[in-house]
Symmetry: C2
Subunit: 155 residues, 2 copies
């Protein structure tokens, strides 16, 4: 079923980079948002430095198997946040004043998803401890999938 598609459940991408972007198409999280999240994280962690050039829109889009416009959307929003610097004809670079998200900002970024989960749980009468347990389970599952990806790269 559509072998051109770069991924089915998940994908890791080794660009001309020291990092790999991992897109989970079935997670319900928009692709452009997943890109934003990870780029932000890699800058926070120091894996990408100020002034570094990011993959070109087309390269990245081809690499993760999505439409270039989707990448544009991620890059555009990150530029509006003062995080990236897009230069027509040259490329996209990490802005000089780019900085990782603060703890408060990280919390805020996750608040909507957390609220959605909690609202559904309360309406279904599910206990908070059960919810926490489910979150931990999901976390392990996602981590396990990441491990699988890394393993495949060694093979």
């Amino acid at each position: 079923m559509d072998p051109d598609r770069a991924s089915d459940r998940g994908l890791n991408l080794l660009m001309s980079w020291n990092v790999h972007l991992r897109i989970d198409p079935g997670s319900g999280v928009p692709v452009y948002r997943q890109l934003m999240n990870q780029i932000r994280y890699y800058v926070s962690s120091g894996a990408i430095a100020t002034g570094d050039r990011l993959p070109s829109i087309r390269d990245l889009a081809r690499g993760i198997g999505v439409n270039p416009t989707t990448v544009v959307k991620a890059y555009t929003e990150l530029e509006n946040d003062g995080f990236l610097d897009r230069q027509q004809g040259r490329g996209v670079f990490v802005a000089d004043q780019a900085r990782g998200l603060s703890s408060a900002e990280l919390d805020r970024a996750l608040r909507d998803s957390a609220r959605q989960l909690v609202v559904e749980a309360t309406q279904l009468g599910v206990d908070i401890e059960r919810v926490v347990h489910l979150v931990r389970l999901e976390y392990q599952r996602v981590e396990r999938e990441s491990e699988t990806d890394r393993g495949q790269r060694h093979a």
Copy 2:
């Protein structure tokens, strides 16, 4: 701003019922899905019994301030699940074979939301314990809002 609107952040509804439905419009959870969740819960908890008649589509829609079509959607899906029994001209009743969701089914119902939260968290590099903490915070917040609603009914 639009005083006809029955609710802004949340709402409790006392129908000709011993239960009240609470819709959270800003939660990101579709209204029809919130209705499904709560009806399922009230059957599970015994607050609504097999064979009971539910509020009419138009009454419920008016009560919670949404369009009748939205209620129809919730009722329809619950009927497809064998949960409700719609009888033209008579009303909507809890099906004889209606039963609360099993633990496994509850877990599955929450899995998508949990996954979404977890995927974003990992991509942002947020620790699992931080995620759990955020979930607990949100839970308290939602609970506090429920308390506020109940308080207003006494005033």
